[in-house]
């Protein structure tokens, strides 16, 4: 079982009416930026948007914004986690989300990047784009389900 040498009741997040919702808003804005810019590349790979620009060029333009979003998300996320670590650790949805997030980040910077930065065949591009969208949808849905299950 998990033990903590830290008392979350002393965490400012649990003693201030505004800090927790504010962090959530920052978290949502962060992932809208990161996932949103990844999704634009995905929709390009699927042939559904930005058809006149090569995926490699689009990826190059979007990557800095994706990174900014990821950094915001990966700072606000652990802070939210710190408000009640044991609750999150025991939460099935949270565990699912962490698994999906790890997969999604690794996938994004390996297979996704490789395929988007080369002239891959449309078939391969479509599969890679669709998997990316599914992974990120799983991360968001897993996050929302923390409040329910």
């Amino acid at each position: 079982m998990f033990m903590l040498a830290y008392d979350p009741t002393t965490n400012p997040l649990n003693n201030n009416e505004w800090s927790f919702p504010l962090l959530e808003i920052i978290h949502i804005s962060g992932f809208t930026l990161s996932i949103g810019t990844i999704a634009i590349v995905d929709f390009r790979l699927l042939g559904l948007a930005m058809k006149y620009v090569k995926p490699a060029q689009l990826l190059k333009e979007m990557a800095p914004w994706t990174l900014v979003g990821l950094v915001i998300m990966l700072i606000s996320g652990p802070l939210i986690f710190s408000s009640d670590p044991l609750m999150y650790l025991y939460n099935e949805s949270f565990r699912f989300k962490m698994g999906a997030l790890l997969l999604a980040i690794i996938y994004n910077y390996t297979i996704h990047r490789m395929v988007a930065s080369r002239d891959s065949s449309p078939g391969v591009a479509k599969v890679v784009g669709a998997i990316s969208l599914l992974l990120w949808i799983s991360v968001v849905a897993g996050g929302l389900f923390i409040a329910f299950y």
Binding site: A39, L86, I137
Partner: protein
């Protein structure tokens, strides 16, 4: 019929009663709403940043706007449908919710934004590409768009933090789950986040 009694009637219809009573439909609708924001919100941000001359500077403004427009509409349709489903299933609770009202006001302002700037900015983007200069009006439109959509996120998250007036659910049959409760320190293992009713795992 007052607005309040309309809300009460709406949530009492069989369709919305079924959504409210289901343990999984409501969170799935919320997830779809949020995933829609994640997948399509970036397109609004990128369009606005392009108008501000911050990103995709080598791509024509008109091309960025035109290429992202259909997907933005699809995204908006998905997000709004989920929003209507969430509202309808708990219409009375939403009626009393200050953040929900704020969100509707911001949504109206976004409609005004579209009316004001559609012909002045978005349909004239090709001109900006020929002259190579983005006018102040376009930058104003982009900044206001970013501001208003951020407001939508803030008001949207705020909805879950307002407690409904006591006693308004007395007439609702079946299980009732309030809007996503904020996570509060509870100690482990986690109790059901809604305060009871769901199966313990």
């Amino acid at each position: 019929m007052s607005l309040l009694s309309f809300c009460q009637w709406l949530q009492s219809t069989d369709f919305f009663t079924a959504i409210r009573g289901s343990w999984y439909v409501y969170p799935i609708v919320m997830s779809t709403h949020l995933a829609g924001i994640a997948l399509f919100g970036g397109m609004i941000v990128v369009t606005d940043l392009r108008l501000l001359g911050i990103t995709m500077r080598k791509r024509p403004v008109a091309d960025v706007i035109r290429q992202l427009r259909p997907l933005k509409w699809i995204g908006l349709a998905i997000i709004a449908t989920c929003g209507i489903l969430m509202f309808g299933s708990k219409a009375e609770e939403y009626y009393f919710n200050t953040f929900f009202r704020t969100k509707l006001v911001i949504l109206t302002l976004l409609g005004v934004h579209a009316l004001v700037f559609r012909n002045r900015v978005y349909r004239r983007a090709a001109e900006f590409d020929t002259t190579g200069r983005i006018p102040g009006q376009a930058k104003l439109a982009a900044s206001l768009s970013l501001l208003l959509w951020t407001g939508m996120v803030i008001a949207g998250r705020g909805i879950g933090y307002i407690e409904p007036p006591i006693g308004i659910h007395a007439a609702i049959p079946g299980p009732y789950r309030s809007m996503a409760p904020p996570v509060r320190y509870s100690g482990a293992p986690a109790p059901a986040a809604d305060g009871g009713g769901s199966a313990t795992s």
